[in-house]
Amino acid sequence: MVRPTPLHKHPGFNVRLGFVPLLDSAPLIVARELGLFDAEGLDVELVREGSWASLRDKVSFGLLDGGHMLAPMPLSMSLATDRPKVPVVVGMVLSRNGNGITLSARLHHELIHSATDLENPIATARALIRVARGRGEPIRLASVAPWSSHDLQLRDWLASAGPDAEQHVQIIPVSPIQMVDAFRSNTIEGCCVGEPWNSLLEYEKLGHILHSGHQIWQNAPEKVLGMRADWTEQHEVMHRHLLRALLAACQWLDNPHNHGLLRDILARPEYLGEQINVLDNHPYSLFHPRLHQHFFRHSANFPWLSQAHWLATRLTLRGQLGPVDGAMVRQVVRPDLFRNAAASMGIDAPVIDSKTEGRHQLPFTLSGRYGPVDVASDRLLGEHLHDWLADNPMATPNKEASRTKTATKSRPQ
């Protein structure tokens, strides 16, 4: 049984943050271990959670003030229609990318033999559907939770093969820590999951990474810091300190020279534990190069309203949320809080709150307060474009209109 693990305490301002043991919980763990929280005068208690459901519920009940969350999770908690709403505020993105779509060795083999271009996600999705049709029964795949980026990426990938693609695939929920067993027992033939599970599935020779989440949505926000809205309101200054500590941790994480130490920290039993030790023998060690996981570069931590809105529209499409407008997203995602914290550390941020998602195939620059700011590419599978606020920072929420359109062709900028 995974029990909550209260770690060391320090005098000062006490904050309780939950995390699920995954590679991208590293910003919280590193901030704790490098004393970055201490430096900000915060006494942070990290609590390890065995499931996203338990993390979410503990935040709802006030047993935790916030924590490491799947990017769509704060939207789903704050805007829920099928359960009481628990308003959560997102002041920063903790990590981008890191998910993989991994298929069983057998299914992967079938795709190779169908002479499919394995680099082209739309081609592979079509090939997968052909395999399912040939078998006459649906292929069973897994995602980690309906309100996860994994679920949305998996479904967006399948949907690129055509509107009826999902009829040929059954998507079941499996917790990340049970993914290896689910592959081994042939319960599932593929999944979309975060690290280290894709690498572990490859290392155990149970599956192959077919695609990265990056191929579905380049540099998608993967995990965010979600804090209860009432906590954020009462502790505005402390929230800024929290963002500062985590920003410093993210900056540290992007430096490959620190990854040896990172591995030693994460392998401790109170964090990810010995499960990651086998990755020492994996040629890629901690970070699989295909998954493009990163924590800081190219304004990774900036919480774009347009990205949150794109996630919300996916949740709405899947029937997990009612219609969501710009004002609702603005209550959850707060670029203003991010800018404030980042500026106090000399880190510049874009002056606009939203951009056209899907337009940029390469990193590009935007105006920051003090000069140009690097921003990561954001291409969407199928060349979708998702516009919100028309890049106009002066637009007021009630004038915002959301629209999603498909581009004929987008050019790199």
Partner: protein
Amino acid sequence: MNSPEPLRILLIDKDPERASQVCQALRHEGHEVIRQRPDATGLTAAVARDQPDMVIIDMDSPDRDTLENMSTLNTHAPRPIVFFADQPGDRATIHAAVKAGVSAYVVDGIQPDRVRSIIDSAVAQFESFQALRAELEETRSALEDRKVIEKAKGLIIRHENCDEETAYRMLRSSAMEHSERLAVMAGRVIKLLERRSQGSVGAIQKAS
């Protein structure tokens, strides 16, 4: 508050001693523990097969995600879940938990003499949740109905070259004639008119 019916319960607990205590307490209350499992492996199949009325699982269990998301897989009624946690808490926390939609939230672990009230509150909570879901479903289907009716009206207007009022009257009178719901009749009209390049009132009448 009494549980009116004995419940068929699936218990998931890694701690065998606690599980047997809970099991005993549940049986004492007249409930049936149909299965006891250490974890959620194969849970989907187990629920489909045994159709338990309730699943009881540890708050901190990693299987929570799997269990919670089963509703995405199975359209049949979701089961109430009781969570146990060993962390200390207070009444306010329990209250907040129950309000937040968790069937029941038990602090300080499970005590057999509290099982009854836990089950009762879980059932009550489950029922109010079901009512909320039903209400949502109703609203959703009302919206769906309106969309179908609007579409059928549009098709009739085009095919019959009439005004909206007339189209609606035609639709309503054929629905009444066949004692069908308006939306059902609208659906048939759409099917029929979309198949034919030319429709007529006759076609609408034959739609039943």
